[in-house]
Structure formats: structure tokens, C-alpha cells
Amino acid sequence: MVTATTPGFTLDHLAIGQSATVRTVHGTDHIRRRLLEMGLCPGVVVEVLRRAPLGDPIELRVRGYLLSVRGDHARQVELQIVGTT
């Protein structure tokens, strides 16, 4: 369901099959830089494909390729709009 921008809505809250647009990536360390460099930068659409058996890490589709990140990295990625499944 499309809703208005929810402040603080982060990538780890996105359900499997949902996609959304990245608003910003929080943090100051090397992990933030690498997330951005791997293409997770503001404006890009990211889709959650699956979660690992114990719920973490999660696999994403971004810029046409598959990327896995841990849940605590996903928490750094703030999203703009929740897309429909």
C-alpha cells in the first residue's frame, strides 16, 4: 500500500516482495559508504527478495543485481515510500 513518507521507516522493516525508494543512508562509518557505493543511494528503488533462515541477513535487488546485507546495515537505510507488493 502506498502511504505518505514515514519518517524513520528503514529498510529492515520492508517485507519480502516489497519495494521502496531510498531516502538517505544514515551513519558515519565505512559501512555507510559501502552501502552507498554498492548503489543504495538516495532515489534508487530497492526490493527485498528474501531473508536468510534466521531472519538475517536480507537479500535485496538494487540496480538490477542481487545484494545481501545484515539487518543492522539495513537499519541505516531510510526509505521514502512503501510500495505495493
Binding site: 543512508v25 559501512i31 538475517d56 537479500e59 546485507v69
Partner: protein
Amino acid sequence: MTTAVLPIPPRLAVRAELRSVALAGNPNSGKTTLFNALTGLHQKVANYPGVTVERKSGRCLLPGETVATEIIDLPGTYSLIASSPDERVTANVLFGRQDQVRLPDAVVVVIDASNLPRSLYLVTQLIDCGRPLVVALNMSDIAARRGLVVDHAALERLLGVAVIPMVSHHRRGLADLMQALTCARIPTRIAWPLPQALLTQMQVLGAVLGTDAGGIGGTAHHLLIGDLEGELGNVAMTHAAALAEASRALAAQGVDAVEADITARYRWIDTVVEQVVVRQPSAERRSLTEQVDRVLMHPVLGLVIFAVVMALVFISVFWIAQPLMDGLQDGIARLGTFITAHLADGPLKSLLTDGIIKGVGSVVVFIPQIAILFLFLAILEDSGYLARAAFLMDRILAKVGLHGKSFIPLLSSFACAIPGIMATRTIENRKDRLATILVAPFMSCSARLPVYILLIESCFYPVLPARYQAVGKGLIMLACYVLGIVAAGSIAWLFRHSLLRREVRSSFILEMPSYKLPQFSEVARQMWVNSSKFLTKAGTVIFAFAVLLWAAMYWPRLPPAQERQISAQVAAAPSEDQHITLHERIADAQQSAQISQSYAGKFGHAIAPALAPIGADWKTGIGLVGAFAAREVFVSTLGIVYGVGDTDEQGTGRLSAQLQRDHRANGLKVWSPLAATSILVWFVLAMQCMSTVAVVRRETGGWGWAIAMLVFMNVLAYVSCLGIYQIGSRIWGG
């Protein structure tokens, strides 16, 4: 488009010779395949000084050149701002700050046509880097299957450097690439759509730093986006005030330089991709990889398949290797027999048969297993499954402070810790890697297996109730493996909460590469390179220790008078076994007496007081000395000590019988189940393998961690055995 692209300057008439060319590219871009195609068999693998990063280089004669050009295969990288030792080497070479590597005359960047946006991110950095550049557009075949056709001519126009379409595993486009290299151009700078605030602060800071420092790709740009490698770090320190001022100004305007820089590059890339990629609507919506992943990464089915794959790999490592190992051992034994028959008794004969041939034997016996293990590792990696394994296992391993990528190295360590430790190179974070290296030897390797079997057969089998013998044996064996795993988990957890506490967060940001069929040539090459590394690094240590051990057991010699006395004693005693001749019995008894008073024997006696509290005596002491060459030597050394000669198939049975019969002065069994438990625990936990220590030294870049590992594992083992034997003997009375 706001970004103006300048026309390509005409080809320069005169150019300097190409002495070296570097290959850069993302991991999984097919860079190594291209490197192999360019250099063929003319390759050299070494290490970059001071780091455990492989320096792969080869030679290739480019058209129009008279001298072969050195091709350097740089470690795969996503960015020139490094986040791992591998990436740091790549950036250092490309910026000319890597020790003992000259700045490459040209750079080939391999990009993946099926993964264009992320590949182009590295290209934008390489354009800023300012070395002559050629783009190799690889994997167009995979892209085409997904309905993506890349217009390479348009891409060439937009990037301002030659773009050569190729399918490197079919050698397609290779000649064009070589031709393009001979006229590689320095790319024209491109104005990434950076926010005005950032451009202004680059100018302001650049003016402080000096001429030409304020432009795109200039020093100010590097400093503001936090690239402080090499000389840049010093500049940042000298001009700390100006840098802080510029950063403050940016923050005041709500601009984050790192995010702005990366976003601008990707915004530029998006416009390029829009112009060069033609999408075929007919193509499958989900790629083949995604369809396969629906099964292989399924929360339940995926785990089942994972377990089956790992079990298959593991079982084949043992089963396929077994006949080969037997064959090799047979050949070695025959060689020994041949020498025995053709040489007179004496130190030379003994050195050849018991020293050198046995030493070579204890090395080569590992080779089939190691080679097969490396073969499977290469297949797992080349197919793309390795990343999935890391994904599936990360959560469990992260709980004890390890990493998803620790799984395969730890699994390999059940065959041998050395290939396991070598496989940790894929773990980027240094502390994650160190923790994995330090606990890998707790996995029960195949050299421990003969020891487990001997002790379980000899010491537990007879005391188990008849109905439960088979199950009981299996359970004790399983307990040994589980103990190793539990120890590894606990020690990893302890390390991560003490010495190896993270000062930087551990990360798991892993590309799931497209599946592909492993290429025979690449897999074979990897297996060959790694196996020969094992032979040179570990094999030499095992061999040296085997020869040293021989010398320690050979000298000093038993006095002739004592030898005669032993033969008389044996001749007088009744024979217990009809299959053994009197001559053999005498030889075995003499050998036993010899080893007991040799240097190794003296050492065994000397450490006996320390072994008594853990339930062992001097005979075990000699066996433990033997185990330092390789753990399974414990069995054959014990065989000699107990006077049953070499432990071949019947020999182990005879050794078992001897162990059962051995009693202490107080009438209690030397090898009671309690004492055997203590020694089993010792073998699970102790670090005895000198070749592992040597490999740890090499992989961690110094003796510090290697010695620390030797000490802590052995202290842990001793304390555990002490606890088990002391408490156990108070309860059950030894």
C-alpha cells in the same frame, strides 16, 4: 544531459612503451578469466610486501611491442576508497603508492554488461584517477539473455575511452582489447553532477592546498569525501583546519560530501545507462539466477540442499581421496622395502627409509585430500554458491562473532586446517578473519582421525556393553568432533569480547553473483596453485619435522651389549603370536629399547612428570613428540615404543592389544577409559601441527598470532585434560 562530454582527442602519434598494464574490476566481473586469456601460462603469484594479498602478474606480448608487457591482475574491488586489504592494494597500485610496484602505464577495467550501473561506479573513479584507460565490456552474453543489449559505441562516446565488447571465457574480443591497449588514452575528466556547495568547497579548500587541487578528482575532492590513504592522510593532517572549515561549511548547507559524491556519480551513470542499454521486452522477467535462488535459498529447502551439498563435498573429500591415499602409501612403502633390500644396515639406510621416505610419505598422503578439497572450493566459488553459503550461515556464525564467510574455511578445516586457513582470505574484515584463523584448528582434521580410532578401539571398545559397542564407538567419535566445534565457538566468542573486540563494525554487504557453470580451466588452475602452495608451505615443514624426529629417535644408539641382551630375552620368552617370526620380535623389541633411550625417548621421560597429572606416562610423551610432525605420527610412534613395529593394518590391532595389556606399578591400566578420554581431549584441543603454525604465521603476517595460538591452545588442552583426569580419577579411581 548536463554533463558535456568532450570529443575524443586524436590518437597520439608517438607514445611511450607499455611496460605494465593493470587489470581492475569488480569481483565476479570475469577479470581473472581475462587475465588468464591474456597471459596464458606465463603467470607469477607472489604476495604484496607486508600484506597477505596475492600479487598475480603475467606477461603478454601486445601488438607492435617488442618486449612483453607485464599484466597485473589487481584484487577485485568495488571502489577505489578501500574497505579491505585487497581493495587497499588495488587503490595503492592505481595511485602509484604501492611499495615495489611501479605505476601501471595503462589500466583495463573489466565491466559486467549484465550489471552495468555498479560496474560503471568503479569506472567513474578510474576516470578521476587519470591513468590511460580501456574498458573491457564483459559478459554481454549473460546480459543478452536477460534482454539487455549494450551499445558499446555509444558507451565509448560517453565515457571518452575505448570500450571493447568481449566474452572473455570464449576469448572473444581479446585481439581488439590488445590493440586498444597499445593506444590507451588518458580519459577526459567528466563533470559529475556534484552539488554546487560541494564544488565551491572543493575550490576553497583546493586554493589552500595548492595548484590544481580544487578540481574534480583533485586533492580537495579526495579529502572532502574522506579518502585519506597514503600521502592524502598527511595532507589532511597538515591542513586539518582548512579541511575542518570546509566540512563545517558543507554541513551548514546540509550537504554530506560522501553521499553527494556517490549519488552524483550514480545519477550520471543512470543517464549513461539510459542511453546505451536497449531492453528487449521479450526477455524473461526473472533471471535464471533468481529462479535457481528460489530453490537454493528457500528458508527450508535451501538449508536442506545446503546441508546435502556440504555433506557430499565432505564425504567425497574422504572417499575419493582414500584409494589415492592408499595407493600413494603403498608406493612409498614399496620404495622403502626396495631400499631396505639394497642397502646395508646403518644410519644412511635408516635416514632414507625411516627419515626421508617416511617424511615424504607423511606429506604426500595428505595431497589427494587437499587437492580434492581445493577442487571443491574452487567449484563452489566459481559457480557463485559460496556467496549463498555465506548468506545462509551468517546469522549463526555472527552469534559467536564470526562471519558468514567463515563457514567454508571452518568446514575445510575438518579435512585439514591449512586449506581452511588459506581460504579465510575472502574475509575482508581483519578481525573476523583472525578469529576464523584462530579457531579453525579446533575442527577435528583428518590427521586426528587415526588417533581417535586407535584410542577408541583400544580403550573404550572393550569396556562398552556388547550390545552398544558400535553405537558407543560412533558416539565417542562424534563427541570428539562436537567438542572441537564447541571449543571453536566459545573461543571465538571469547576473542571477540576481549582481544579481538571490534573497533570497526563487522560488515556483511555481499553481492550474490549470477550462477554460472564453473570453468574447467579456472577450477583446475586454482586447484593446482593452491595444492602446490600447500606442498611448499606446509609440506616442507612436515618433512623437516619428520626428518628431525627420525634423528631424535635414531640417536644415541643402543649399546651392542644391550642389543644382545634383548635378543636373548626375547628368544627365551614364549611367543604370543604365531604370525610373527622370532627375528621380527627381536627387531621390534630392540627398536622399542632404542627409542626409549634415544633423545626423543629422553624427552618423553623428561616430560613424564607433567603428563602424570593428565593420566599419561613417558610412552605417550614420546608419541606426543612424534605428533609434532603430523598428528597421525602419534600412532606409528606409539607402535614403535610398544615394540609392535610399524603400525600397518595388523599392526594397529597388535598395538591395541599392547595398550590394553599395559599396566602401571599400582596394577591399574595405563590406558584406562579415563586416561584415554584425557588424551582424546588433548588431541581435540591441542595445537601440535607445526605446519599449521607456519601457515598461521604467513597468513597473519608475523609470529605473534602463530605463537599466541600455539600457547593458548596447548594451555587450554592441558588444563582441560587436567580437570578431566583429576576429577575423574577422584570419582572412578583412575
